[in-house]
Assembly symmetry: D3
Homo-oligomer: 322 residues x 6
Amino acid sequence: MQKKYLMDFTEGDAITQTFLVVRSQLRTSVNGSYYIDIELCDKSGKMTGKFWKATRDVFESFAPDDFVQIRGTLEKYRDNKQLRIDSIIPVQETYVNYADFLPTTDKPIEPMLKKIKDAIATVQSEPLRALLQAFFNDPEFVAQFCMAPAAVTYHHPYRGGLLEHTSSMVEMGLGMLATRTELDHDQLIAGLILHDIGKIEEFSYDRAFRYTNRGKLIGHLVIGADMISTRAKAIPDFPQEPLELLLHLVLSHHGEHEYGSPRLPVTVEALAVHHIDNLDAKINAFEQIRRNSADPDATWSEYSRMFGRSLYLGNGGAAAES
Amino acid sequence: MQKKYLMDFTEGDAITQTFLVVRSQLRTSVNGSYYIDIELCDKSGKMTGKFWKATRDVFESFAPDDFVQIRGTLEKYRDNKQLRIDSIIPVQETYVNYADFLPTTDKPIEPMLKKIKDAIATVQSEPLRALLQAFFNDPEFVAQFCMAPAAVTYHHPYRGGLLEHTSSMVEMGLGMLATRTELDHDQLIAGLILHDIGKIEEFSYDRAFRYTNRGKLIGHLVIGADMISTRAKAIPDFPQEPLELLLHLVLSHHGEHEYGSPRLPVTVEALAVHHIDNLDAKINAFEQIRRNSADPDATWSEYSRMFGRSLYLGNGGAAAES
Amino acid sequence: MQKKYLMDFTEGDAITQTFLVVRSQLRTSVNGSYYIDIELCDKSGKMTGKFWKATRDVFESFAPDDFVQIRGTLEKYRDNKQLRIDSIIPVQETYVNYADFLPTTDKPIEPMLKKIKDAIATVQSEPLRALLQAFFNDPEFVAQFCMAPAAVTYHHPYRGGLLEHTSSMVEMGLGMLATRTELDHDQLIAGLILHDIGKIEEFSYDRAFRYTNRGKLIGHLVIGADMISTRAKAIPDFPQEPLELLLHLVLSHHGEHEYGSPRLPVTVEALAVHHIDNLDAKINAFEQIRRNSADPDATWSEYSRMFGRSLYLGNGGAAAES
Amino acid sequence: MQKKYLMDFTEGDAITQTFLVVRSQLRTSVNGSYYIDIELCDKSGKMTGKFWKATRDVFESFAPDDFVQIRGTLEKYRDNKQLRIDSIIPVQETYVNYADFLPTTDKPIEPMLKKIKDAIATVQSEPLRALLQAFFNDPEFVAQFCMAPAAVTYHHPYRGGLLEHTSSMVEMGLGMLATRTELDHDQLIAGLILHDIGKIEEFSYDRAFRYTNRGKLIGHLVIGADMISTRAKAIPDFPQEPLELLLHLVLSHHGEHEYGSPRLPVTVEALAVHHIDNLDAKINAFEQIRRNSADPDATWSEYSRMFGRSLYLGNGGAAAES
Amino acid sequence: MQKKYLMDFTEGDAITQTFLVVRSQLRTSVNGSYYIDIELCDKSGKMTGKFWKATRDVFESFAPDDFVQIRGTLEKYRDNKQLRIDSIIPVQETYVNYADFLPTTDKPIEPMLKKIKDAIATVQSEPLRALLQAFFNDPEFVAQFCMAPAAVTYHHPYRGGLLEHTSSMVEMGLGMLATRTELDHDQLIAGLILHDIGKIEEFSYDRAFRYTNRGKLIGHLVIGADMISTRAKAIPDFPQEPLELLLHLVLSHHGEHEYGSPRLPVTVEALAVHHIDNLDAKINAFEQIRRNSADPDATWSEYSRMFGRSLYLGNGGAAAES
Amino acid sequence: MQKKYLMDFTEGDAITQTFLVVRSQLRTSVNGSYYIDIELCDKSGKMTGKFWKATRDVFESFAPDDFVQIRGTLEKYRDNKQLRIDSIIPVQETYVNYADFLPTTDKPIEPMLKKIKDAIATVQSEPLRALLQAFFNDPEFVAQFCMAPAAVTYHHPYRGGLLEHTSSMVEMGLGMLATRTELDHDQLIAGLILHDIGKIEEFSYDRAFRYTNRGKLIGHLVIGADMISTRAKAIPDFPQEPLELLLHLVLSHHGEHEYGSPRLPVTVEALAVHHIDNLDAKINAFEQIRRNSADPDATWSEYSRMFGRSLYLGNGGAAAES
């Protein structure tokens, strides 16, 4: 029998299994007793749970990023799944492997990485190609780049998500370059590959995904620009214009000031990267909402704060409800 | 003794009565047991209730749009009324009549409909009058138009609300036409009567009021424009300009893009319909808030999301609280 | 032969006539010579003109609010009328009368004033009626109220405009009170009559219309509230609640913070006055644009900054141009 | 042993002490029983509490602004402190003193008041100085001015807060005047001292702080302007320009329409007061958040609605969490 | 020698050639004489010109959509090219062909049309494929679809622009469908092909491009939805859900209310079409700005109102100017 | 007789003097002849001029950043001063000194620089003080820092403006630190001194002030953060937290995303720097408008695009004009 993961269970399933703790809070319930509000994950995804028989001792027996053995039942809370927990027992780290418990892309890493490396090989400009190689010939960078998520909760929120997102954008970019000669091939490829690299420092992801202090204080746009500047300084005589255009592209790729871009795109390649990014992220975000919907027959999703509206999940178009 | 309806009860009243189920959800309470969060209505309005002794069996014994016999007590939750339910028993449809249980305008239908038909008779343009008659000589359309609410929760959220809103706007329009010769009589009257007709397909209202899929995907502005186009095509040689102006008026009557109008009013009649609509809707919405306030002595309403502020209900102006 | 006024002339007409100077500037034309850019008015309206043969002496021979004898031709500049001036000669004030040269409502004053006074008589609340009478029994106030425009350029920008606007709003309000018992008759009538009285100090209008310093620094909302406070203090034992509601109504009647209201309407009467005001102002503003369009056959107006778009003037719907 | 106040207790402390009731609500808990949601304060600050064993009788045994003897334990709810209450017993007012129970500035009143009076003495303009003295020689005004908070919850939300805020701003203004000769000394000093005086009528603060009806309907900007107008009228021949500039400054000191200013600053002194106000208020508001954080080791605050983000509280910069 | 077109000329070139009149206005110059402000085009693009020796007779000798023989010199005005005209002589329509004078895509029509027809063939849903064929088997529709521009001035503002834009988007969509199985192939293809068809009625393009009245009053989103509804009604038993989703996609494809979409995208295909549309349009718009820049060496474009900023045109990155 | 500079001349003055060319454009006037639109400066400020007798030869005889001998008359254009030029003759650079011709602070450099250095000496944290000294012990940095303007046109738009702005802010900060112990002294001082240093690369100012490409593509916030990162890396074991807080402060000091800050202030020191910056900049910007007003008696300024309104310049409060 194949092992079931968190997202494979459905309403009513009894569950006895080990999970990684993302977040845990001791709260006072409205009848005055304690309960634990916990977020758990394994490689299939995240879920919240409630342990009603909590004591302060149980609460203090584990911490975020620990593993716990959970016994309970999967229920539905509003339209999302939630665990009703009967017992929580800490599990020693020696017996488990973090990587098996963190949400991870379901696409193989190597082909995605190869797609990026092949794209680097098409870059004609020597300094830009050298810059890209400086990153992708550095095993430490590559390891992080292949492991980082693209976001904590929004789009591609799983290990390998940054790689998957970047690789998918590179593919679209190469398709566009085939017919659109007005785009500068090298700037576009370099921009697509490097636009989000700051995320490897914006998040921590060796345990449950979180923003780092650095990520919250500085943000992945400026972190990424700094990473590029630093590597470019190490390349003798790196020409000023392509570097400044690339930094501009990274800093402007959110497209609008209100989304945290200190500059707005002024090159056609920066515009293109911004819109390809948006397209790929929105499609993936939609899929996250579809996947996480507790009711497989729901025509409409719960209200999504990210989109500011309820989304149409289809499933035959049963009667909608306001 | 006269029968009391949902909105007639006050805090502390014991209630044993049949209601229509608007919405029902089985939830896990914070002590881990089930409870049912239910919304009920009768012709006087809607109210939420909580049934703390819920079981999954009770929950599955009825569904939205079913009737249930409720025993419980009316309480106050924040500043709204709420039912604390002691028992819920399904009631067979044969014994009750939907119409008696849906909120309904307290104004008689016929005089309001007559006001609209009289206004149609004042339209000089033959094609516009023919278009209006095509709608109002069609018994099926008239039946729906007289039954539809003007909104699910905002203004005139009761059967006959669309008719009441339209009739009231026609009355204001006729008053204005008496002195303002700069307004085109026929465009204004046709626009006032037809601007909201798309709502008969945007909502379902033979049971508890809900948005239809069509309503959510397309919206009453475009639905209404489509209904007008379709009827106009059936009238030989319908002149292009007045039709396009009327479609424009319907599409632009929300006045601003942010309220879902694909066009902004560019004719004086479209401007007038937009502002008369706003005036009539806001006054009615205020009254809904006043009516639904649980505390008849409250000087200020609860925070209203629709208005984005708390409203002054008066009642002698006791000390306000922040 | 009847006298023709500024707005009666059409393109190509030769004009020799006396006008009031609204604004006058000596400018250097692009061939380096001087020209005078002047704005003139008579009771029919305002128009700009250009005097190409200007000298500094001619420019200094008159000032704003002086009268000048103009000889020239009416031309079209973009879609507005403009005077091409051949000579400008100052005219002594003794020979003319300001009142004849300022744009003035074409509706008789007395019936409009009577409508307001009749409405005051319907007010049941003694203090509110006394307050209204304190204003309308004061000949100086009445003289100003009947002379003030409702705006410098936007809506009702002519002497008597404030009276016309107020009277028209009172009429609409009385119509609404006939059927809507949820509105407080006295608050609504007092609010409609007094909401804009601050304009008598916001503008100066014994000469060409201008904002006063007080108008620019404080604005008619707060000026109006201050006028009401002052008069109410003179009435013994004026009750606090209706006064505060009335002040609130005046301060909130622009409806949104961005239009300069320090408070947003929280009473149904304040909401009603706001929307009635908007409706009456927008219809009149549309008519100003229609009237001032130089081309009587134009289907679309010039771009209107006030509305943020071009308006549909009709006239048979000739081919539109982007 | 020194007496401990509400904000001195830490998680886990048992508390038996008298507090002032700010707000009290009887609610139905999700297991169907009653509980009381209460807000309490003493001079050190405010805190919410929950009394799970509530009955309707207990709830009705006291009201807001009464004193109650509380027995319970301090717990943490999310990142804020909260009381879990075991008993509530009303205490008679004769035995306690309101002033001891309302949050109060920890800075001595006299030096702050003296700073303001000294600043008044530097005003050269006779009428402006007379105006300021009219306020600060009036014992009733001074008493209220020294007692009022600067806000109910935002910045300086304690008795004496208005004085502390004003005094601190005056100090900054005097510092700036030392080097910036482009600022009008008298307007700036008068503006700094009077800009917020309307708050003495916007709030009530002899009991727990609340907005008055007048405060909600009119707001402290217009109330303040009215107070100034009234005092100025009592000074013979008060010149018009400085008065209008001062009124303008008060009305515009929120800087933007969206923050409720009916006018935007057009004098350099009005600009300066607006920015000094913002600076002083924001720093104090940050400190309120830091003080009220339940976890003294937290690196980041809870999400702050006022700032629209989580704030960095420091404490060594432990790992951040999204 | 090859014929030169309008966009081939450079500063200083003498030009004697026939052009099509887009727009013509008689204006009074600042020295009081007439001049004609004219917009001309041929198939290479549009340009403005000034004829300083204008008389009313010359002005009235031709009209928009007439052909004129121009003699003049190409100059630079700000950073755009402009014609200084020495003579304007009307040319009879018999001697010229409109199609030669309207800006036209430089890509061949047939391959682009074939790409769309091939995509239609991949649609599996019978009714959707029938709907698409109903359009593309109708020679009159196809003729208009291949001739229409995608905009008057923004992106693809040339004959065949709509086809070029649609075809390019279909290509991107097919590329995405290869790897993204979460997208509904048929909805995406149908949406990409039909989303902008309303433009064939929004503009007139048999002469110089203009908005039609219908285009201005109703807009291409609702026009396109109406065209689809009408064709779908002619197909027996067209299923409701895919039709409503397709109408939703067309109505929502501008992505935001503020860009005139009455609905916001709620399906993943509607989101995808919106973002692909944006990407293709922005890249083309950038190219229009690059092409129309008068100075081939400029590093920065003039301020672009469409983008709200100046764009980086490159060319070696000479010193920027503010 | 003392030499007069550009800003010393008044309307009507004949001028024969050498100026530096900021900007120069050859334009076609509306009578078809050429004219030169030129911007000139000397150390007192900038002014535009028009040379009506232009030829292409004259235009090509000089370029921006050259010196020209101007003969002409000072006139008023709208409410700004403008030169009417009679002749333009290029002047060789050998005879003049750029520094004499660029607008320069009228405050002595040394005391302002000393104020900053004294503040550095108060910093207790060794690494932060070392970082500040790394900048201020570097003669090249200091030279640029003392020469750079704080903006091209907005506030402190003159050589030494950055120093003057920074020094003035440091002074305010020191004043605040005297009483506000909640502020971190070292972070605040370091932040005040370094927040704008990116401007030394954002602008070029050895000739007329312009944005550099780097300035436009990247902006002074990110440039400044990069300068700080680079210097900090050269200091062994620079601790991470204070560096990230300082970078955060620099990146967030515009306070809002819409003003180009990629992060919003989350520390109290970042909030303080933002508001002190705003205060100092707005006061200076107001003074620039007052200084550049052509009419010394004007009560109101021309409409200011930066402030979005007309400002009150005072001067006795003569009658305002709309």
